[in-house]
Structures are given as structure tokens and as C-alpha cells.
Symmetry: D2
Subunit: 142 residues, 4 copies
């Protein structure tokens, strides 16, 4: 997998607020979509991890800087990079960029910059080591 | 219980969209809050209904007219009236009014008018008769 | 444009509720995304309609039946069909189907069935005739 | 005003996800409600600040730790403390506690701990000094 996993998001009405811009909490939805698509790109699924391994990945900490606003109908690219990996923790950097359109040569403007710490837990929320199959897949992203 | 069960909602940023008004899907959140508070006012709790009776109430149908917009910081009153009740179905009329403030003598302006059909189901989503204790409580609203 | 305009949606965590299924209000977000993508497919943009023509399309009425639940990670297809068109009103039927995956030969299961009435208004929310350029484009969908 | 401004929130269905807990992005909605109610408690309104002073307060940075989950129907208390104030910036600490019920003597369990940096901007998003009337009111919270 590319070190910088990318997804594209177009801003819909549901994402905006009365300020005409993307509501700040909704960036956390975008970041979760990006992490979920990264997991799918590795051939994993949340449901399978829970049902087969009794294992899930939750957000333990998020440090997020809102640098510039995104507007209705904007084209956004979310870039996700896995920075570190242990048996019970993953650290990612996730950035939201605005682009003119979805070609590869477009200028990018950084809107949001986040450090996200994920914890590996069992269904009761207690720390649980990542299954080795999943661990190997995540290592391929480092 | 009063035939017209009321809750008050102040419009927050999270509820609005780039049009400066409450996003249309968010009225369904308001309606659900009102139904939940009605259930609490009867001394019931969702969790208890599910865990003790294996019973839950889901929305089967919603016919909703968006007549006028609500704006950021508006004061809203949601009125809920139970219209009919059978062993496996409840029909409610729910209306969203805008008021100047939260005194009882204020003028009311109708913004949203909804007919909501609720179905009684088991955890697998199959029709299930309402427990008689709950049924009696709901009858007191008719 | 095809009479049945389609978009694909994968169910994310943000869409679900404690019942393990898509929260009922979130289907209205899906329906709006579908209508917005239909508008894009015609070469129109909301922002341009507002800024150049002082014209916007709002939801006046929605009659929606929730037939079966969608679950986390489900693959959904939203089909949108324009049923009628006047100078100040559009009527659409929108349906949410669950599919096994996103190939064309998959079985479809109807989850949600909605009739949506859209009104053409000016920025103050008063009825306003659709610009003829937009009207012609929408007619091509009938 | 008390140094620790409090609001109460009950967890509704709309707030939860398929994990049965409050979806992580929704805590940012709770935090915003708390800040808005703090502003109301000072006698200020967002709309007035924007319309009269061309001034608004946006979130520039959020450092948030998700320590324990909140569940459907939980009673939460959000505590907000203004930590520092300059002409163009406010720093707040906001904490989400779970309580058994809404009496004052209940045990509190810390669920979420956030440091939020707010920026004072004009409608174009450029830094703008806080109107002195608002500044004086905020100083009363320090």
C-alpha cells in the first residue's frame, strides 16, 4: 500500500453549518471514513475483526488543527499515514486538503491536520493485542 | 400525561447547514428526541424494554412536511401526540413550532408537520406485541 | 441521463446507531447526496444556481417508508427518478437498495422507499420559477 | 459566572454508533453546545456578535482524549473552564463526565478530556480583536 493512503470527499449540504463551511465535528467523520477505507484496502473488515477475533480499533486521542475552512461543493482529499504501530496502539497522521478538482496535478491546500491515536481493544473496551494477521498487514503501511 | 407532550429545543450550529437553516434530516433527530422524552415521561426506558422484554420500537414510516425554515439560535417546541395504538403499531403526529422564547404565552409558528408510524419489533426486527405494562402506559396518552 | 440515476454508498460508523443499523435520519442524508449528484450529472452546481440565478431547490415534503434496516459496512445503491416537473416544483421517487457488492448483476433488496417533493425558491424562501436552462436539463431526466 | 460552567446532556439514539456507544465525533457537538450555552449565560448571542460586530469565534485547535465510552441513555455533564483569554484567542478546558443521575451529589466518571483553542475572526476568517464588551464578559469567567 502507498505510505500515504488517499480518499476523495466532496462536501455535501449535510457536512456544512450556518457559517457556510464544513462543521468542525464533521472532519472527524471524514477522518474515520479514511481510516475505514485504509482498512478495506488491506483486505480487512471491521465486522470480521470483531466477530472472528473479538478485536476492535477505537480512537483514544485526537489532536486536530483546523487551519482553513472547507466550503459546500469543495473537493477534498484526505491523506492518511500510519506513523507507528505496537501490539495495542496505532498512531496516524491524517490531513485534509482542498483541491480544485480530482486530477493528480492539482494544487493542494492544507485545511486540517490531525494526529490520531488508535487503541486495540476487546468488545468490553479493555486493551487487546492485535491479531498477527492484521498486524502484518498494518506493518506493510509503515 | 398531557395529550400534547412537549419538549424544547434550541437550534445549535451542529443542526444548521450552509443555507443558514436547520438541515432537513436533523428534524428527524428532533422528532426522535421528543419520542424518547415521551417514553421517559411514562417511566419507560429503551434499554429496559430491550433487555427485559426483548422489545423495541422502530420507525416504519414518516410523512413529513417542511413548511418554514428554522434558523440558528431559534427556540423550538416539539409537540407529540399519540393518535392510535395497536399491539404492534403506534401512530403519532409530531409538530415543530418556532417560538420567540420559552414562556407559555408566546406566539407559535408551525415549521414542520409529521405523521410517524412506529412498529413494535423484536431484536431481529420481526413484529412483536408490546408488553402489556408498556401498552397500558401508552394508552394513558390517547 | 438514465431515468434511474444511481449512486453507491457504503455504510460507515457515523451512519449507524446503537441498534447496529443505519439511523433513520441518515437516510435523508443519503437521499440528498443522490439528488446533489443527479444535479452534478446534469452539469449544474448548487452554488452557481444560487449565485447566478438567486435560485435554490429545497425539500418541501418527504414521505419515507423504512422497510428493512441497513447494517454497518453494507453496500447500498440509491436510485433516484424524477417523476414530475413544473416551474416551481419537482417530484422524485428515491429508493435505497442493499446489494451484495457493487457489480451490476447482484441481487437488490429494497430497504427504503421515499417520495420527495422539492420546491424552487429564492434566497428568502419564496417560490421562484426555475431558470429555463436548468428546467431543460431536468426535463431530459423525465 | 461559575468558573466551571456546566450543562447536562442525555445520550440519544442519534449520538450513538453501531458499537453501542457515543460516536467519537459527536463529543465535539456536545463541546460546542457547552460553549454556546456559556456564551448565552454571559448574555451574548452568536448572531448578535456577527451582525453587530462582524465578529465570530471559531475552533482553531482541539486536543481531545477519549478515556471511556458513554452509552445510550447515559446522563452526562459537560464542564467548561476558560483558561486564558487574549484579544484574538480563547483557551478552554472541557470535560465530559458520566453521572448516575442529575443530582448534585452523584459520583462523576471522567469520559472525555479536551483542550480547545478558539480564534476570534471576521466573517472572512481573518483574525479580529474581540469587541471590548464581549472581552469584559469573558474575563468574568477567568
Amino acid at each position: 500500500m502507498a505510505k500515504n493512503f488517499e480518499i476523495k470527499i466532496r462536501v455535501y449540504y449535510e457536512d456544512t453549518d450556518a457559517g457556510g463551511i464544513v462543521y468542525y465535528a464533521n472532519y472527524l467523520k471524514y477522518l474515520e471514513r479514511a481510516r475505514t477505507e485504509l482498512i478495506y484496502s488491506l483486505g480487512l473488515k471491521h465486522k470480521k475483526l470483531i466477530e472472528e477475533y473479538g478485536f476492535q480499533i477505537i480512537v483514544a486521542h485526537c489532536d486536530i488543527a483546523f487551519k482553513k475552512p472547507a466550503y459546500f461543493e469543495d473537493h477534498l482529499v484526505i491523506k492518511t499515514e500510519l506513523k507507528s504501530l505496537s501490539a495495542v496502539k496505532l498512531e496516524m497522521v491524517q490531513k485534509v486538503y482542498k483541491v480544485d478538482c480530482w486530477t493528480t496535478t492539482t494544487e493542494e491546500e492544507l485545511l486540517v491536520d490531525a494526529k490520531v491515536t488508535l487503541a486495540c481493544v476487546n468488545p468490553q473496551g479493555k486493551p487487546k493485542k492485535m491479531p498477527s494477521a492484521a498486524s502484518l498487514l498494518f506493518k506493510s503501511c509503515l
